[in-house]
Each structure stands twice: as C-alpha cells, then as structure tokens.
Symmetry: C2
Subunit: 238 residues, 2 copies
C-alpha cells in the first residue's frame, strides 16, 4: 500500500445536461486544474448525479405528490427490503440496497427525479476511455453515490460503478505484522476511495468530481462493482 | 468544505504493550515524521488494536478451541443480531454492530485476543490531550476499527471513538447547488476519515496511525461516537 494519498475536488465542471459528453467535460476541467494535470494511476471519483444527468436518466415527477415518488421508487426496485412511514429501503436492479432505489430529487430541476445509471461500470469505463484518448493517461474511475447504512447514523459515499480500479482487495492469507496468517481481510477499497473523495466534494458546493492520487498500483486493475455487491443468498440482512 | 485533503501513515510506531503511554509514543513518532510536524487541525486516526493493547484489553484465549472464542464474543455482546455457522454478528456494549463483538485474534500474540476499548471516546481524548501538551497543536483524534457491512462485500474502517472531530455533519437544510433545500444529508465524516486513513495504513504493513490534513475547520468540534451509533429502536436491521 502507498504511504501518502491526496484528494481534491475538480473545479470548473459546468451544470451537466442530457447528452453532454461527460468524459470530454471532465478531461477539459482536469486540464485546467490548479492542482495540475492528471497522471497515470490517479483515480477519478465522479458522483452518480452528473452521470445520470449526462445519460438522460431523468424522469418527470410531481414532487408535491408522494404517490408519484413512491411509484417510481417501486418501479426501480426488485425487492422492498424494509418500509417505515415514508422511508423505503429497496434492492435495486443492480443489487444495491439503499433508500428509495436511489431515486433522487436533490440537485435536479424541480419536477424531475434522477434515476441511477443503468450500468455504472460501463459509465465509468466510458469516462476512463475518453480520459485515455484525450489526455493520454491511464486512470481509474469510480462512480459514487451517497448511501445510508444499517446500524450506523450518517451517510457515506460508496462506489456504484468502477473501471480500472479494484472494488475489493483480498488480503486473506497475507501475514499480519506478527507473521501470523490473517483470518479475513477483504478491504472495500473502492468504497473507501469514494468516501475519501466525498470529504473534498461536499454535498452543497456543487463539486461533482474528485481526484485521488497515490493509490496502490496493485489496486489498478479491471474490475466490476459486482465485487462490492453481496448476493442476497449470502446476506443476513434482507 | 476543504478542496484538498492529504493522508499518510505515521511510521516508527513500535509494537505496543499494556501500560504503554500511547499518546506519548504517537507524539514522538509524529515529531520524527518525514512528512513534517503535526499542525493545528490535523486529524489523527489510530487503529483500535494499539489502543486496546495499550489499555491492556487483552485476554487469554485458546485459539484452537472455538468454544473459548465464542464464549468471549458472547460476553462482550448485549445482543446477538445474527448467527450463521461460525459467524456471529453482535451488538456490543457500546452499541456497535459488528462481527464477533470486535474480539480480534489478528495482530496479537498467539493465545491472546484483543477486546474493544471500554470507552474509545475517552481513549481518543486522552491521545488528543497528550498531543496538545507535548506538541502544542490542537488535533482531532479518531479511534478506528474494521467492520463489515450489511448488503455490501468487503470491510471498511469506521470510527469507534472520536475527540475534537465531528462524528456526523448535518447538512440538512443547506441549499443544494440549484438553490433548493436539501432533504437529508447527514454525512458520517468520522467514518469517511477512518476509511481514507485505512487506505494509507494497510492491514499487513503494521502502520497503526495515520494523519489526515485539510479537514474542514467546521468539523473540528467536541463530539462523541454516539453521533454515529443508531439507537436500536430507530434501526430497521436488528
């Protein structure tokens, strides 16, 4: 593992609209960054909201009508995991368990809701490929979203799509500091990178992309967010 | 929020033993760091394992006897949340929901198990106070541990004790980038900081302390890990 990590928010990303070429826009914003150009091995963390907007994953909704929102949440779900009052915890078609199937009314125009991208791994790969083509650097890309957790208060950002960066790094069998074989240490590095990026993006400051530099080179490999999704049959909590 | 964050592992922390003065040891290691001295506003993330060792939270265990481990796990629990085969998910006396009540056999001498600190907020405050006294800087301190999650594979580091750094930052009511009032955004910044720190510590490299620099000054305040613990009666998953 690396001994030093840096993370910063990428400024200068404009409001994203359907059919915008997100990879091109990010490549351009990164080129003009005061923190300097991207380098091989950087990881870009891109929030779901701008990916959904660029991919046109916006639907009309009557925000004053709770039934309209509820219907949309159910349409995006394959399973209702829990329900209490207005809160619905669902399993999405992707296998994510989150509030409201990820249907989001914040930071979108009134009268619209943003749905999760259909395939955020593909979205991440597309951004990675455009960055490679435009800037000649090989980066990892994480599409992140803000999810709640069981048992703990507060939200954290997690990965919902990855390209060129591991979801989970398996340290099972690596000797611990005392030379004993470790029991189980599969670290969700893509989720930890998404959380680190969230700290510099900020929900209300409108910075939807961050760069994380200094990531262990061994983590930069082909992967899929499926590494992070626990299959229902292995899960004790749905 | 800040626009740039840096994190690095603190080298030169020796093997910790019961009755070691952990704050003194960390202060000394930080003074000799190649990354330079601590400054006001830095956040120190200290892994639970060395806090437990310094506080003598070690008990004898026959590692070859599963019953011995199981009994210990049950003693440290106030509630068994789930059980499947050898896996026991419990609620600890602190309110944490985690595997095996946090009882840990890795990175401790054979024949011993490390229990969670009795009060990790107090442990964090003690380290913070010693850093202030020895080095004249005001830092935040997070005691971190590695927990599993419902629904997602892979472990992430979270905060089990805090001093001088918020557990959860409440952004409810802060206008989003389009000027609309946000619905709910309570961000678990202490957990995200613990996760960021984990990326530079590494389970097998024996670096048990990290520094995170560039944390939003508004987050540096008195707090308690209770901000992060969802009370059982509010929790849909136990």
């Amino acid at each position: 593992m690396t001994n030093r990590l840096a993370a910063w928010g990428v400024t200068g990303i404009p409001e994203i609209r359907p059919d915008d070429q997100l990879g091109e826009i990010i490549a351009e914003a990164c080129s003009g960054e005061p923190n300097g150009p991207l380098v091989d091995g950087d990881v870009l963390v891109v929030t779901q909201k701008i990916v959904s907007k660029a991919e046109g994953r916006l639907v009309a909704i009557d925000a004053s009508d709770p039934v309209s929102h509820k219907r949309l949440v159910e349409e995006e779900a394959v399973r209702i995991v829990r329900r209490r009052g207005d809160l619905i915890i669902t399993e999405t078609t992707h296998g994510f368990v989150c509030a409201n199937s990820g249907v989001d009314l914040s930071n979108v125009e009134r009268g619209q809701a943003a749905l999760l991208p259909k395939d955020s791994d593909r979205s991440a790969r597309r951004i990675r490929d455009i960055i490679r083509a435009r800037l000649g650097v090989e980066v990892g890309v994480i599409v992140s979203d803000t999810f709640g957790r069981a048992w703990r208060k507060g939200l954290t950002d997690v990965a919902i799509g990855v390209a060129g960066i591991a979801g989970v790094v398996d340290l099972r069998g690596t000797p611990d500091a005392l030379g004993r074989v470790m029991q189980v240490t599969e670290v969700a590095v893509a989720d930890e990178l998404a959380s680190a990026a969230e700290l510099v993006m900020g929900k209300s400051s409108g910075i939807p992309v961050a760069v994380v530099r200094g990531v262990d080179a061994a983590w930069l490999r082909e992967s899929s967010v499926r590494e992070l999704v626990r299959p229902p049959q292995e899960d004790l909590f749905r």
